[in-house]
């Protein structure tokens, strides 16, 4: 089974957290329970920014990267918020993403034949932890880029996760200074 063009926010585990419904079919953020900015006014604002100042569109920053290839990513994080945030960030950079909230689901997904260019995986995960899940994923022959993205800090954790097979140990939050070089490399831009 290979990934189809439209990647769904799928989880192989049975119980989806409530907030996960905030994502649409292809993983984009829906208008959520957040007090959404009045879309009509926003349209008007774009048209008449007669505000007297030089408030133009955001300039191109060094943080931006434009992907040339279709890249896919899996986010494995037991915390609802972090999982959705990391997915959102990757999507904003242009990747197609999936996510699961435990290590066992991640292993199952890979075992079923799903392929990813990038995997972000947390250390503390329900059912099967990140270290063991990484070991098993690597044991299946997956050579993709794996970043251990975790709130854990400490040399011992770092060594353990690297030994299990992650390419990089990243303390949360995952920032552009780490992510962008990785994406450039995956995209063949280096």
């Amino acid at each position: 089974m290979t990934l189809s063009r439209e990647s769904h926010t799928s989880t192989s585990n049975s119980i989806l957290p409530q907030s996960a419904n905030l994502l649409t079919e292809n993983g984009k953020f829906k208008k959520s329970m957040a007090s959404a900015l009045p879309s009509g006014d926003q349209g008007a604002a774009e048209a008449n920014s007669g505000n007297g100042g030089q408030m133009q569109k955001k300039p191109f920053t060094f943080n931006e990267i434009v992907l040339r290839n279709r890249l896919t990513a899996l986010v494995v994080d037991g915390d609802n918020f972090c999982r959705l945030l990391e997915q959102g960030i990757l999507q904003a950079y242009g990747l197609e993403t999936q996510s699961v909230n435990n290590g066992d689901a991640a292993v199952e997904l890979i075992a079923s034949g799903a392929k990813f260019d990038l995997i972000l995986i947390d250390m503390l995960l329900p059912i099967l932890d990140g270290v063991e899940a990484t070991r098993r994923i690597r044991a299946m022959g997956m050579r993709c880029k794996m970043l251990g993205v975790t709130a854990c800090s400490g040399e011992r954790e770092r060594q353990a996760f690297l030994a299990a097979g992650v390419d990089m140990f990243v303390e949360k939050p995952l920032g552009p200074e780490i992510l962008i070089p990785v994406l450039r490399e995956l995209d063949g831009q280096v």
């Binding site: 907030s19 905030l22 953020f29 957040a34 604002a45 008449n48 100042g53 915390d79 972090c82 709130a151």
Partner: protein
């Protein structure tokens, strides 16, 4: 209040949030990821953070009320909160979680209760700051202006 004044107010307010360490560069990254394809990215992500954090704070309160406290469970919740607050750039919340985890390790109930209070305080502070920031943004947009960078 006229538009230029509102925009000035927003810039000053936002600067103060960074200056007082309520927010850090991680929040900046989130703002930079917002564009016309993802116009409400920041507001949505922040709302998720509020929901997630309040759930965790409730869990922590319950866990610390138990006769026999499961410190591993408490630590797991604080760990989550540390991760999510750092991911959104809520620096002060993140830092207060670090102290909390130390008390968990020591199985110090008093310490944990004090930290919980502190974390809760910091969380509600940053929540009200962010809500004020979004309100200012909304006022500017309603007045026909755009958000200063």
């Amino acid at each position: 209040m006229d538009l230029v004044k509102l925009q000035r107010q927003l810039v000053d307010y936002r600067d103060s949030l960074y200056h007082e360490c309520f927010l850090d560069e991680q929040f900046t990254q989130l703002q930079e990821l917002q564009d016309e394809n993802n116009p409400d990215f920041v507001v949505e992500v922040v709302s998720l953070f509020f929901e997630d954090s309040e759930r965790l704070l409730n869990e922590l309160t319950k866990a610390l009320e138990q006769q026999s406290i499961d410190f591993k469970r408490v630590d797991a919740h604080v760990h989550q909160l540390k991760g999510s607050s750092s991911s959104i750039g809520a620096q002060r919340v993140q830092k207060s979680c670090i102290a909390f985890r130390n008390y968990c390790e020591e199985q110090n109930v008093e310490g944990c209760l004090t930290c919980l209070q502190l974390v809760r305080q910091e969380y509600y502070l940053v929540k009200s700051k962010l809500e004020a920031l979004f309100k200012l943004e909304q006022q500017i947009l309603s007045a026909g202006g755009s958000i200063p960078i």
